[in-house]
Structures are given as structure tokens and as C-alpha cells.
């Protein structure tokens, strides 16, 4: 459950965004959409999505926000990371029908888990498209990597790359029956309204334990109860959560 990952490469992929490829002690498969809880300098761990897995290699893509992600971005090849995980429940890539029409919608730091998800869907022979939203041209990352997997549309808020506007501006809901999304809360809230039958959202929440024990990361549900982002999610059906 706790693994020591060894940094293999670190690369800046956009303004303030880093790709970290690490070696795991083993090569057990991981479902896409799950996350690792990384212990860097600060006291609490930092939840970071699994952006890719190949054999014993695991990739993280992240934006520098505060102390934790800044220290993560300073790691060098050979450094070790104390990683708790994989945690949570990911996107149901093994459960979607083979003829499903899937769109993956990612916003900013929500983009990373969708890369691995799309790769796995494509490996299962399921055609899918991606819509990736960023603030501005400088912050766009992994566009080429996504294009290699399938049709990919980039949007930026300021229009400096791709289509101007939010991801929803590029989303033609008539063409899809399944949607996987990850991104900031306002984006996910507007996606909840989109008329697509099956919608799965990966949500973010400040965490304590990451394993379901502390009730830090709860999200209310329409039936008056709650779910825990870390252990019940981070991926939920859009109807399951009140954002």
C-alpha cells in the first residue's frame, strides 16, 4: 500500500506544469482514474492522479500550486517518493459497452487522469474523443499525446490556443452517450447539466487520510447522505453528487 517510487525523468510540459515519470517496485496493473497520495515535504500527503502506467513506470502530471507540488517539481532523477496507493475508484473503462460513444473532458489539472483513461479505452478498441480545456496557450500540455490516441480538441479561456471558451463550448452532446470528466468544480457543475446519458465525474476535495477514515473529503449526495471522495470516488456518476 505504501511504495517507494524512484524518479526516472522530470520534464516541464507547460508553464508551471511538470511531468514526473517514476519507477515502481512492481508492475501490477492499475485502473485509470485512481490516484496516489504522495508524501513530499509538507505534513499531509498530496493526492495526484495517475496520468499513465506502463509496466513498472508510472506518470504524474501536475501544476505547481503550493509547497507540496513545488517540492514535487524539484525532484531529480534518482530521488524517491513515498507513495500511498493506488487509492480510490477510477473510471469504469472495463464496463463501458464496446460500441459506446465516449467523450473525455478535462480541465487544467483535471486533464492528467484522462490520458491514461483514454489510452486504456483505445486499447480496448473503443473509439473516443477528448476535449481539453486550459487557461491559455502557455498552460496547454499533452495535446500531442492525446491526439495520438484519437480526435482531440483544445479550448482556452483566452482563445490563445484552440477554441476560445470553456470545454463546454466544444462539446456536442448529440454525438456521445458516455462522458468522463475531470476538472475544476465549476466545470463539473456545468457538465452535470449536459444531456449525455452516462456521465462520470472525477471530483477534487481537500483530503486528510486519503483512505476513507477521516471524513475530510465528503461530498453531499441528492439522497441526503454523502460520499467520500477518496474512497468512494474520486469518480462518481454525475447524478450521485451535489457539487
Amino acid at each position: 500500500m505504501i511504495q517507494l517510487l524512484t524518479v526516472v525523468t522530470r520534464r516541464q510540459i507547460a508553464s508551471g506544469a511538470t511531468e514526473l515519470v517514476c519507477r515502481r517496485p512492481d508492475a501490477t496493473p492499475i485502473e485509470p482514474g485512481r490516484f496516489m497520495h504522495l508524501r513530499v515535504g509538507p505534513l499531509l500527503r498530496r493526492p495526484i492522479s495517475i496520468a499513465n502506467v506502463e509496466g513498472d513506470l508510472i506518470t504524474f502530471l501536475f501544476k505547481e500550486i503550493g509547497q507540496g507540488t513545488k517540492e514535487l517539481a524539484r525532484l531529480r532523477a534518482g530521488d524517491q517518493i513515498d507513495a500511498l496507493g493506488p487509492l480510490g475508484n477510477g473510471f469504469p473503462v472495463e464496463h463501458v459497452a464496446r460500441d459506446a460513444k465516449i467523450v473525455l473532458v478535462g480541465g487544467g489539472i483535471g486533464v492528467p487522469p484522462l490520458y491514461y483513461t483514454m489510452r486504456r479505452l483505445v486499447e480496448r478498441g473503443i473509439a473516443c474523443e477528448a476535449i481539453l480545456g486550459f487557461d491559455t496557450a502557455d498552460s496547454v500540455f499533452y495535446e500531442d499525446e492525446f491526439r495520438k490516441l484519437g480526435p482531440t480538441t483544445v479550448t482556452t479561456i483566452d482563445g490563445t490556443a484552440g477554441i476560445q471558451g470553456f470545454v463546454t463550448a466544444a462539446l456536442d452532446s448529440n454525438r456521445f452517450d458516455t462522458l468522463f470528466a475531470c476538472g475544476p468544480e465549476p466545470m463539473l457543475r456545468s457538465i452535470q447539466q449536459v444531456p449525455i446519458k452516462h456521465k462520470f465525474l472525477s471530483i477534487e476535495n481537500r483530503m486528510g487520510c486519503g483512505i476513507g477514515a477521516c471524513f475530510a473529503c465528503v461530498c453531499p449526495t441528492p439522497d441526503g447522505h454523502y460520499v467520500k471522495t477518496c474512497s468512494d470516488g474520486p469518480v462518481f456518476r454525475a447524478e450521485e453528487v451535489i457539487l
Binding site: I2, R39, L43, L44, C209, I211, C214, F215, A216
Partner: protein, 309 residues
């Protein structure tokens, strides 16, 4: 006698390591990681009369070597706990301590009455120091008279020994401790969190939806040590110490200060295996320092006369 064994009112701890209330849920998640029977005991999440949802999120913020939480006593309610949580815990050979909270003395009484009758529960931890709820909680924990009165009432209905959990947010924790001891408390647990706040400089607003929260973790350890040390010298009931323990030396520091056992809170989030690791590390470290039985050092920092009970 096992060199780690500690016998306290109602509790026969095979070692002095106990996960702290609110930081271990009801054990279910950690049971997947290691055998909970190795623990001295488990302090389960606070029980209230009814199910509670708690505060809105964000419920957690971070600070240097500390965290702020404002969970707000989310729990399935005393009946839910008795029906769904205690049966699961009954499979483990460890001492279950039930944390009891409420908004009114009546609620405290009612919760205690019910939960103390469950055979899985070996002791009650009276939570009069939760800073994260509007009514009850910290009120009872900062006024010695109210704390004593509540202790008396809860003792009267409890079938199990009652440990009162003290708040550090007071001018004199010694006065609080003496008040609840006189009111019949069988033991003390200390410290709960320090009230704190963080502000997001991008918005100018508090990070926690509840605005304020309880500060825990290594940041508060020197405050905990000092308070345990002050209280241990004036009460004759045992203390379960807590506040920022992360390493085996922290456990020893608390016992030197006067604690008889030690609870581990925030550290479980940093390293979910911490309690297991501390229990394994203790005998080795005791060997290095020439400590035969863990209680041989209890209160040594103030020159206590030592005995192993």
C-alpha cells in the same frame, strides 16, 4: 508482565499505542492495512445522539507541521455505531474506547448510557473539547464548573470508566483537570486540538468552510508535553497523552511527561502504518535507552515516584 503492557481503569492495554479519536474512523479502513489486534486500544470517532453530517467542505487546511480540521463530528449516531460499527470492531483483540460528544448534557448522558452498555466498549472518552461545533463541545471544555457537572452526570449513567478529554484552549488546564477529577473522572485524555485559522491570500477568506478549525500534528507537541507535565503532577488519575506524536521518541517524551499511554492522531494520515510501526519500534528504542518497562519512565521529567500500574 509484558514490558509494554499498561493497565488503566477499564483498559488492559497490551501496549501504550492507541489511535486517537477522529483519526482512525471505526477502524474499517485500517483493518485492511494491518491487524488491529496489535493495537493497545482504539479510540473511535465521536458518537452523538443522532447521525450528523458535520460541516461543509473544505474541512481540512494545512499549516507548517500541523493541520487544521473542522469535520464537525460527522458520525452515524450512537445507534448506528452500535448497530454497524461495534460488531465489526468486536473481532479484534484490542480495547475499544468510545468517544462521546453532544450539544446538551442530556445528549452526552444518552449517548453514554447506550454506548457504555455495549460489551465491545471498555471505556468512555468524554469529548468536551471539540472546537468544531456550534453548541456543546468546547463550551463544556473551557469552564471548570460546567466540565465537572457534565462529568458527574455522565459518570452517573456510564457502565464503563470515563476518561475526560481536555482542551488546550484554556488559561489553566490544571484547574480543568482537577475539576473533572473531583467530579469522578477515571482518567484524562489530552490534548484535543488548538483552535486555529488559515486564510487563503488569493481570496482573503478562511480556507475552512467553518472558518476556524482544530490544529493538530507536530506543531502542537510542545504544548501537549507541557500540559501533560503540569497536569500529571497534580492529579492521581491516569493520563492518555496525545498531540503531534509521530515518532517513537515522541511516545517516550509523553510518558516521561506523565502520560500512561499515548494516542496517535494526525500521524495516521501521514503514514497509515504509524501505530504498527511505533509498537514495533518501542522495545528496540527502550533497549537502546535502558528502559525495562515502559511505565518505568512515567513522570520522570518531574521526578515522579514510579510504579507500573
Amino acid at each position: 508482565m509484558n514490558r509494554l503492557q499498561v493497565v488503566l481503569p477499564g483498559l488492559n492495554l497490551k501496549n501504550p499505542i492507541i489511535p486517537a479519536s477522529g483519526c482512525f474512523g471505526f477502524g474499517e479502513e485500517f483493518a485492511k492495512l494491518y491487524d488491529l489486534s496489535m493495537l493497545g486500544g482504539i479510540m473511535i470517532k465521536a458518537a452523538t445522539g443522532e447521525e450528523r453530517y458535520g460541516n461543509p467542505t473544505p474541512r481540512v487546511a494545512e499549516s507548517d507541521m500541523g493541520m487544521l480540521n473542522a469535520i464537525g463530528l460527522q458520525n452515524p449516531g450512537v445507534d448506528g455505531i452500535i448497530a454497524k460499527k461495534l460488531p465489526f470492531l468486536s473481532q479484534f483483540d484490542t480495547e475499544i474506547i468510545a468517544n462521546v460528544a453532544g450539544s446538551t448534557p442530556e445528549e452526552y448522558e444518552e449517548v453514554t448510557r447506550r454506548i457504555s452498555r455495549d460489551p465491545v466498549v471498555k471505556a468512555i472518552e468524554l469529548n468536551i473539547s471539540c472546537p468544531n461545533v456550534k453548541s456543546g463541545g468546547l463550551q463544556f471544555g473551557t469552564d471548570p464548573k460546567m466540565a465537572a457537572e457534565l462529568t458527574r452526570r455522565v459518570k452517573a449513567v456510564s457502565e464503563k470508566p470515563v476518561y475526560v478529554k481536555l482542551s488546550p484552549n484554556v488559561t489553566s488546564i490544571v484547574e480543568m483537570a482537577q475539576a473533572v477529577e473531583q467530579a469522578g473522572a477515571d482518567g484524562l485524555t489530552m490534548i484535543n486540538t488548538l483552535v486555529g485559522m488559515r486564510i487563503d491570500v488569493r481570496t482573503g477568506q478562511p480556507i475552512l468552510a467553518n472558518r476556524i478549525g482544530g490544529l493538530s500534528g507536530p506543531a502542537i507537541k510542545p504544548v501537549a508535553i507541557r500540559m501533560i507535565n503540569d497536569v500529571a503532577q497534580v492529579v492521581s488519575i491516569p493520563i492518555i497523552g496525545m498531540g503531534g506524536v509521530m515518532e517513537v521518541d515522541d511516545v517516550l517524551e509523553m510518558i516521561y511527561a506523565g502520560a500512561s499511554a499515548v494516542a496517535i492522531g494526525t500521524a495516521n494520515f501521514v503514514n497509515p502504518f504509524i501505530c504498527q510501526e511505533l509498537i514495533t519500534a518501542l522495545p528496540k528504542r527502550m533497549d537502546e535507552l535502558g528502559i525495562e518497562h515502559i511505565l518505568d519512565i512515567r513522570g520522570k521529567a518531574y521526578g515522579a515516584t514510579l510504579h507500573r500500574a
